[in-house]
């Protein structure tokens, strides 16, 4: 017998007399308050910055962030209209821009797909994430139940990288970006 068969046979032996426990249903999601406002509030509580912007506002936000920077790293889904800076490799870029798969209000989270990229989400010290307003879910459960297909990897980001491992003092930007800016895009794109 190989390791798999031995482990499974020990499990079946162990469970022979054990009553089977039922799997509870998922709870009904709570009635949603305005998810956009809630999302921005939670982002701020997580130490991230959230902005509700239209097309013009997004360009202005990006121009502000881009001031004095030589370039940026982009996720595949970032529209050309928002690629204001020359593209740099993520290893060198002072700014990463990505487009989120969805966002979650209750936890202040943006969900980033490996289809958009990975390095631009992690290596630059500042990370700007674009997400369309209709993709902001009130709760994690609603977002997960609605997911139709899963990419190779999803990263849920809920604020800047942080650690309190050195003497219990909170430090930002330990490995990932020390600054997370989220632009919720309103209108058509």
């Amino acid at each position: 017998m190989d390791a798999k068969s031995r482990i499974l046979s020990r499990i079946r032996h162990a469970l022979k007399e054990r009553p089977k426990a039922l799997l509870p249903e998922h709870p009904h999601p709570a009635l949603s308050q305005d998810p956009l406002e809630f999302f921005l509030k939670r982002l701020a509580e997580n130490g991230a910055e959230g902005h509700l912007v239209d097309k013009e506002g997004a360009r202005k936000l990006l121009a502000d962030l881009a001031q004095g920077l030589p370039g940026a790293a982009y996720g595949k889904g970032v529209p050309d209209a928002l690629r204001l800076l020359p593209e740099l490799p993520p290893e060198e870029a002072p700014l990463g821009v990505s487009r989120a798969l969805f966002a979650v209000a209750e936890t202040g989270t943006v969900a980033l797909s490996s289809e958009d990229g990975r390095k631009a989400q992690l290596l630059p010290p500042v990370h700007l994430v674009l997400v369309e307003e209709e993709k902001v879910y009130p709760s994690l459960l609603e977002a997960f139940l609605d997911l139709k297909s899963l990419p190779s990897a999803i990263g849920l980001h809920s604020g800047p990288s942080k650690s309190a491992d050195i003497g219990q003092v909170m430090v930002r930007g330990v490995h990932g970006p020390g600054r997370l800016v989220v632009a919720v895009l309103q209108g058509t794109w």
Binding site: A3, K4, I7, H26, T107, T109, L156, G167, G176
Partner: protein, 461 residues
Amino acid sequence: MQVKAKLYPKEAARLLREHPGVREAVTGATLHFEEGRKRAYQEIDAEAWRERAKRVKDHLLTHLDHYLELAEKRLQEKGVQVHWAEDPEEAHRILREIVARHGVKRVVKAKSMLTEELGVNPLLESLGVEVYETDLGEYLIQLLGEPPSHIVGPAIHLALPDIQRLFHQRFGTPLDASPEALAAVARKVLREAFLTADLGISGANFLVAETGTLALMENEGNIRLSTSLPRVHVAFVGIEKLLPRFADLALFLPLTARAATGQRLSTYVSLIQGPAKEGEEGPKEVHVVLVDHGRTSLLHDPEAWEVLRCLRCGACLNACPVYRQTGGHPYGYVYSGPIGAVLDPGLLGLEDTYPLPYASTLCGACYEACPVKIPIPKLLLTWRQRAVERGLVPTWEKGAMQAFSKVMQSPSLYRLFSKALRGLPLPQDLLPLLKAWTEGRGPLRPSPKPFHELWQELNKE
């Protein structure tokens, strides 16, 4: 990992004598975690969340064979290579083969208690592979050559001056360098490691059977980097870490974060379905090693099997007044505190761990904190009872407890003994129980009058 749990009482006393600063550092850090957890539980219907999580895990564990086979099938469909390991030796063989096949020279590691169990770092070092622990706290204790002291905060026993001294010796930073400056030094070393490593190694918080999703929680970004940059990713997963459905993560991710650190969700969660597709960034090869290492024998235990619900959040450590005095090192194994005291005997056998169930006041704070309602106080008693039955406790203890019971049940005997103990000089060095007490403290000085006399006098006034 070498098991030194038998030495618990001696090691705890020694640590308190020789490193008094540890108590202060651990108490400070755990109370901070504990306050955060309480605040985070108050914000939700914690009882309902905990009950639901308990039921999902009980369902999973009572159908474990089914869900393991489903998880393997889903992982393989997505191109993940699945391995099974009964013990550390088998896990080593699997890892050795992967290292040899890819000519691995450098490894970046995400914090994982299971890889501590398996002794992954010593193995890799013996193969001439450079290993970088990339969680900041884990990196600190790797530099010091110490095991983790806490499941979530491996370096909580270190105070800022300890770390300033360490970095001064290693990297020449000034002795008064700020935490920001120290973190920047570590970031630079580890960024280089991320960009040049051939292999990333991680554990997993959860493995979803329905979709074959590995879920990993963290705050620094080192796990996302370890599982994204190297061309190969190996995840070691305990067989009890499964969840039935993808949407169960909507309960378990935030519940774990609230219990562990008081957050609504950890800053980063990686949900990994498989290797990168053509033209995508990410590892070209993903391996999952499903590890038993004592878990099936725990599942067989009619009482202690409930411990397998454990999410490794560390909430019971933070709540425990005994753990707070020393941190995790004296417990002598990967898992310390209340959960270690009930998990370690189940994983390793009671013979090698029997002092651990006694490392508790049975106050019950661990149960209140536990996000999956593991009846830790009840199980501590179960293990103690078994230790007595198997003759693992000293023989004098049984006689002493019988005598104590007799005296406590008779008011006249109680008065007699209480008077005698106060009148005579205590044979402090002879009685083993008293000796254990006085070794680290001053001699016992009984009050000149017993409480019941003081009480009577007070009532007369």
